[in-house]
């Protein structure tokens, strides 16, 4: 999607895989299909349903910035195999 400088950004939401997001994309976590042990670890690290994230480096591995309810953030490095198992609702805002 191309956005011209004069057009206000159009907000779109769609379900996709975390691994498909480009650098700079913001999204919200909607689900995770990892097995229990790995899923629990990811959740403990803060990558949980409804978490607000931004991709700061795409690729293998990628870096995800997680922002909490107060606006503080932390960064996680995750492998493509993990990113493939996480679904997000992304927005182009």
């Amino acid at each position: 999607m191309t956005i011209s400088d004069t057009t206000p950004p159009k907000l779109t939401h769609r379900e996709e895989c975390l691994c498909d997001l480009e650098t700079g994309t913001c999204a919200r976590i909607t689900g995770c299909r990892l097995d229990r042990q790995e899923g629990d670890m990811l959740r403990a690290l803060g990558l949980r349903t409804n978490a607000q994230i931004q991709i700061t480096r795409s690729g293998e591995p990628c870096i995800v910035k997680i922002t909490d309810e107060a606006g503080s953030s932390c960064s996680l490095g995750i492998s493509r195999r993990v990113a493939q198992m996480v679904t997000v609702s992304s927005s182009d805002d």
Binding site: D68, E69, S73, L76, V82
Partner: protein, 646 residues
């Protein structure tokens, strides 16, 4: 009062523990695990004392990981550090990162469920202030029902108040329900109520730019290579002075002991066995301490996590995680601390693979052997010598990675643990924490040197010193000749006496148990071009690789002065029993390859057994490395014989 210190990794827990306890802490393990525990008694301002137990940093108490299991067991009173009585702690000191309160409060929700008196320390309050992050401590106290103390463990800000508050620990007033979602909801509500962060600020963008560079597939590797080159330059440059000093002190101690004690078994045991043997191991202590100090500083800055991220890409094809790079790097100084550092690898099979292959890396003890053999090989082409050194390092690394690949696809086959790693904030490192970590690692190394290494040293001394053989006729006749000419020509007599001593030393070594074993195993090494003297050298280097050089000096030149040019010349020009050169080119290549790849360090095997929990892994390590070294040396010998000849 027993207080358990809990928190997420990277929250400054270790820094806080070090600040509160100084050097008074005791390091041990939790029984049945390789999880390290540290405990200390601290004095409180009211005159009472409290025992502080530092628990492993975990992201959650509920996850299926050994560290979390230890935390759960300690809190429940089901386990205690070795030597301590099992009992539920009287209070929990939970440390939270002020710059990442949302996730840390989920952890607090888990500890709150334990219904134990709790004190909350909000660490890195200085960073939060710098970022314009506001935390309402009164609301946090009100919502949790526990005392909250803002601190900066790095600068000791707020620590007096924290220690004064410890006796006032309170059971949390609210407890979230048992599900993870309930804990998250509890944490989110409190986060919204107590904390407010400004929009992304310049500092955050700077952090992202740094991350962009340090984790870049090319730039990141370049930065990593630069940092590691700098680290090793510092280690090898600055450790030399204390290493020389240790060498000198132990040489003098051995001399003093030999002079003070009556000649005999006891004198030989103390001077040649204990003092020289322990000195040969302790000489590496400065390198180890410096390496741990610098790695601790690097870890504290937040850079090591980025390096792990970059290296994970490189190690993944051989089945090792990014965490394995610190142990593999450390092994370039000494395999003993490297194997201990493998505790950082979370997955057991990956940890075992790391332990098994770490000794392939070129440690400092190999360098004297490389120097001798490279000198022999390139006497006429000195410019090629540095290339040969680089080749040795590269061969060790290649063998380690290939072996890791082999183990991870056979015995230690398992799906690799999925890579997920927190990239902590960049911050100024704590000098104090680095010094404390160094102190701890140094103590562990000294404990090994004082027990296992000491025992190995004594056994090998005995094998090399016994049975005591009678002086050979040639030495006796030289002494008789020297005695005759001594009045007229004392200088020449001294020279002849020295020659006689050298012949006697070489004879004694050749006829010792070690020498006999060397003779016995020589047929095994025949295909590699080794004669009986080289076989003895290989056997004695089991104590430590560098012993090979002094053994060669004694067996060939009868003099253990390995710094002497004449002794080195004698070694380089030594002849076999049939008159052909001992160090022909194929043999020198074969021996060099063997020393790059072989497991010639019994103390390393002892540490492998301890860290892996079984001698079975140590035996496998020895067998595998010996097989690889033998095959490699045979290949080198055959190829060199076919291409360059003798």
């Amino acid at each position: 009062m027993r207080i358990a210190l809990l928190g997420n990794p990277n929250t400054g827990k270790t820094t806080l523990f070090n600040r509160l306890t100084g050097l008074r802490h005791k390091t041990s393990n939790f029984p049945g695990t390789t999880q390290e525990s540290r405990t200390a008694i601290i004095d409180l301002p009211d005159g009472s004392a409290a025992q502080l137990i530092d628990l492993p940093g975990v992201y959650s108490l509920e996850i299926d990981q050994p560290e979390a299991a230890v935390c759960r067991d300690v809190i429940a009173g089901n386990t205690a550090p070795r030597g301590e009585i099992k009992a539920e702690p009287d209070a929990l000191l939970v440390i939270l990162d002020a710059t990442n309160l949302g996730r840390n409060l989920v952890f607090l929700a888990e500890t709150a469920r334990r219904r134990l008196p709790t004190i909350i320390a909000i660490n890195m309050i200085d960073l939060a202030r710098n970022r314009g992050l506001h935390i309402d401590l009164e609301i946090l106290t009100e919502r949790t029902g526990c005392p909250v103390v803002p601190i900066c463990a790095r600068t000791a800000e707020g620590l007096d108040k924290l220690t004064a508050t410890l006796p006032q620990a309170r059971i949390p007033s609210t407890t979230p329900a048992g599900s993870p979602a309930a804990a998250e909801q509890w944490a989110d509500e409190i986060t919204r109520a107590v904390s407010l962060a400004p929009p992304a600020i310049a500092r955050e963008r700077f952090t992202e730019r740094l991350d962009h560079a340090f984790t870049h597939p090319i730039l990141g590797v370049f930065a990593f290579a630069l940092v590691m080159a700098g680290l090793f330059w510092v280690v090898f440059k600055f450790a030399t002075i204390p290493m020389d000093l240790i060498d000198l002190v132990f040489a003098r101690l051995a001399n003093a002991a030999a002079t003070a004690l009556p000649e005999g078994i006891l004198s030989s045991l103390i001077a040649d066995g204990l003092i020289t043997g322990v000195g040969a191991t302790l000489i590496f202590l400065p390198q180890i301490l410096l390496l741990f100090f610098l790695l601790s500083l690097l870890e504290d800055t937040g850079y090591l996590a980025r390096a792990t991220f970059v290296i994970d890409r490189m190690l993944k094809p051989v089945g090792l995680p990014g965490h394995a790079f610190v142990p593999l790097l450390t092994a370039h100084a000494c395999a003993l601390p490297a194997i201990m550092a493998a505790r950082a690898v979370p997955d057991r099979k990956q940890r075992l693979a790391t332990i098994l292959v770490a000794p392939f890396m070129t440690c400092s003890a190999r360098l004297p052997v490389y120097a001798l053999l490279v000198t022999v090989l390139f006497r006429d082409r000195p410019l090629l010598a540095p290339l040969a050194f680089v080749g040795c390092y590269a061969l060790g690394i290649a063998a380690a990675l290939a072996s890791a690949f082999f183990f991870r696809h056979t015995l230690l086959r398992s799906p690799s643990r999925l890579f997920m790693l927190e990239l902590p904030s960049y911050k100024l490192p704590s000098l104090r924490t680095a010094l404390m970590t160094t102190w701890d690692r140094g103590l562990v190394f000294l404990k090994n040197a004082g027990t296992v290494i000491l025992a190995i040293t004594i056994i090998l001394w005995w094998l090399e010193s016994y049975p005591i053989s009678t002086p050979p006729p040639q030495a006796e006749s030289l002494r008789a000749q020297a005695a005759q000419i001594e009045p007229a020509n004392p200088e020449q007599a001294t020279q002849i006496f020295a020659d006689a001593d050298r012949i006697e030393s070489a004879h004694a070594k050749a006829n010792s148990f070690a020498g006999k074993l060397g003779h016995f195993i020589q047929p095994v090494f025949e295909p590699l071009g080794f004669d009986w003297r080289l076989s003895i050298g290989v056997f004695t280097s089991l104590a430590a690789r560098e012993v090979f050089v002094s053994t060669m000096a004694v067996v060939i030149a009868g003099d253990d002065d390995t710094d002497s040019d004449s002794v080195l010349n004698d070694i380089a020009s030594a002849k076999r029993d049939d008159g052909s050169p001992l160090f022909d080119r194929p043999t020198a290549w074969s021996l060099l390859t063997f020393f790059v790849l072989a497991m010639l360090c019994l103390p390393t095997l002892a540490v492998t057994a301890k860290e892996s929990g079984s001698w079975k892994w140590a035996a496998l390590q020895f067998a595998w490395m010996t097989a690889v070294a033998y095959s490699g040396a045979f290949l080198a010998y055959t190829l060199a014989s076919l291409t360059i000849g003798a």
